[in-house]
Symmetry: C3
Subunit: 324 residues, 3 copies
């Protein structure tokens, strides 16, 4: 739980983790995204909401896809965006991370979108930034990926409306997945009826009980009667380790095929954070099939990021006015 992502009046000042956020706030994010969703369908996909704001994409870990969605979201809000690949910049001159950050703050930046391979990096940065900077966590180690979780919730709400009635299954490498952790927290906060996690024992976390989820090692049993199937991406580096059998064996047990999908409800939707490994965690016929909403997730990712960016910068300027 982050101690400092909310302002005193409970507004979103940073967006670091789903943990600790209340249901009305998650709903507000989705409602705001709903408004932006209309904009991105218009001929002119831009609003002047963040004109004159400076947003830094601080990517300590490379992710073109995620960076692009944040860059697009910022540009559609009319903000100025600077992409920094931190590995190749000042830190290579021996400057400390905090010195780099303080320098960027001093350039009157308004937001840092942070991607880092270490868990807790975004939280650490948020603890040290100046009052005029908001931090968005764009994925930190195995810890959290809150905008991904929110775009997933938004996608579910678009198709399924009422969360308490739903059974949701998450399939794959839960143990190492920041996406899964954030999804479970969001699903739980939104009051989803039943959350299931499905995977081999080696890549399920030991604390599944405390997470409030039901654990399945058999995919057929786990998919039975669910409304939503969320597949996780299998990291190639895991497959080379001892934690997992071969890709082929994994696919046989935990890959989502048309047959296995039939065990879920007939109107179940299939989700995946991308990029997908066809034939490893998901069959092409499923990924491209009528129940797949994978590309919708990408679309909604822009709207969710626009929502979170405008909310945090809004909360911040309100707070600065109060303090002024």
């Amino acid at each position: 739980m982050s101690s400092n992502q909310l302002t005193d009046s409970g507004q979103l000042r940073h967006f670091l983790t789903i943990e600790g956020l209340k249901q009305p706030l998650l709903t507000e994010i989705m409602d705001r995204a709903e408004q932006f969703s209309g904009i991105t369908n218009r001929q002119v996909k831009k609003v002047p909401l963040l004109r004159g704001k400076t947003i830094f994409n601080l990517f300590f870990e490379n992710s073109t896809r995620t960076r692009t969605t944040f860059e697009l979201a910022a540009k559609r809000l009319s903000a100025d965006v600077i992409n920094l690949n931190i590995n190749t910049s000042a830190t290579s001159k021996g400057e400390s991370l905090l010195d780099t950050l303080h320098n960027l703050e001093a350039m009157h930046s308004d937001m840092f979108v942070v991607r880092h391979s270490q868990s807790g990096a975004a939280e650490f940065i948020a603890q040290h930034v100046a009052p005029h900077v908001s931090v968005i966590n764009a994925g930190d180690g195995c810890h959290a990926h809150p905008t991904q979780a929110m775009l997933d919730m938004f996608t579910i709400r678009r198709h399924k409306q009422h969360f308490p009635d739903l059974r949701v299954a998450i399939v794959g490498d839960i143990l190492h997945s920041r996406v899964a952790r954030s999804q479970i927290q969001a699903l739980s906060t939104l009051g989803v009826g039943e959350i299931r996690v499905i995977g081999p024992k080696t890549i399920l976390p030991a604390d599944t009980q405390t997470l409030g989820v039901h654990v399945y090692h058999d995919m057929a049993a786990g998919l039975e009667g669910v409304d939503v199937v969320i597949m996780l991406r299998l990291q190639h580096e895991r497959m080379q380790g001892a934690l997992l059998p071969s890709a082929r064996e994994y696919y046989d047990c935990f890959g989502l095929t048309d047959e296995k999908l039939k065990l879920a409800k007939p109107d179940a939707i299939v989700m995946h954070p991308g990029p997908i490994n066809r034939g490893v965690e998901i069959a092409s016929t499923v990924a491209d099939g009528p129940q797949s909403v994978i590309l919708e997730q990408v679309t909604h990712g822009i709207a969710i990021r626009m929502a979170v960016m405008s909310m945090t910068l809004g909360a911040q300027s309100e707070q600065q006015e109060v303090q002024a």
Copy 2:
């Protein structure tokens, strides 16, 4: 010939190749570029025509120069531009090309500017994109480079007006040149009086007859009385192979010197797509001399790209209105 670069009403939906396009359309592109040409000379070099549009520069093959001209053209039309070097992005995570494209489409992009080392790549992508995306070919393998050809035609028209009266010579590695292929198609469609290609036998295509060009292996004979001399860039990798003699020997035979240029008409213009190899395919005195229009070509390249971008996106939104 591309089957799908025109809408049902004959407007430019993609811009993939000159092949198959009719003379009035090529003229329309040049007329439109003429309008934009005025804009880039103004104090404020921007028009709001594509405000809110999202253009991706998808460069599978590095070309800073070409990417920059497309980026500038897009920015001067007020579009948002995202540069993606595809080698270093999602495909390195094992995602297929089409999955990458569909993801970018799902971000509500409006245009892909594609550069690829394989012939047919832009056409392939155009066949698979969503209806709301236009594809511009920024060079694919040995196949086509249609915006380069059109900026060359525009440059010729600026100096020479009436195409049927002209004799045009293209000198160099025709066989491997996407530029030459597109130029020959454009010159031919615009009814140029005589098209000559000049080069050693090893790098002239076998099908020159069907291209409707006259072939010369002797440069002096080929340049005799021409109005326009188009030099091609000699690829360094060719010179190391068996197809060509040394750079020195090539220059002696096919390099454009002041003396050889005297064989052309006195008011002949000299063109080159750049970057030039001084002393390999062209003498510095010619490249920098009074008959050279090489830098004008660069300038016109922006206007031509603005024209093609605005025409394809215009055709697309008209079509969407019809279908809506």
Copy 3:
């Protein structure tokens, strides 16, 4: 001294070096920056002054920090910015530097911001650019870094007002520092009472007499009674050479600690161009202490760059009007 950075009427056409510029012009730059300083504190940090202008960041030497400040300054003036890392672009295809520049000029660019490892590179480029392009030196070899010097002057003026009353000490590797050279010229032009340079003999220039500075090899003596302490960054590559003792030994002699700082005036300010090497040239307690204005320098860097960019482009368009 640059022969061509001023227009006939004495306005700033390029900004290449402090050398040769008169005091009223340096004051004008600071006054203009003062105006922009207000803008960067506003909610909307943008003015439309350079809307439609095209600015190229030509970085032949990597410097993310400096490039970012120029990029931000340009964007806050509403210009379009293209970042080019020249090592990886056309020059790798064998194109000469001047051909690359002339190509960029032909794209109707308005400004080149040049960073280069060779002294004189910006001057060389300015001598060869077309009349419609302004050149800003963003650091060339050991020669000059004029925007850094001006942001330092601006920072001093913010704290100390009247230059003739001041004693200023510059500490470190003066010999190899373009920052120090530009600072000394600016301090001298602004009539600073006393300029001191402090460092080991091996890294002090031989011509300190002609620079009009007082030389100290003993830091305690040099800091005595100064109003401003400017620390230079110690280049790691120097420490591996024979010119310097170990980092530890250097710190003992020339590192700025709280104790040594006490020798300066009680209200002395501490400056550093960044990035800082903590524990090498400066103690963390000093860098983060109440007398440090290091982060203010970063902030002022944006305003100074906005000032210089708008002044050079303003002078240029005036000149073009005169000539038209």
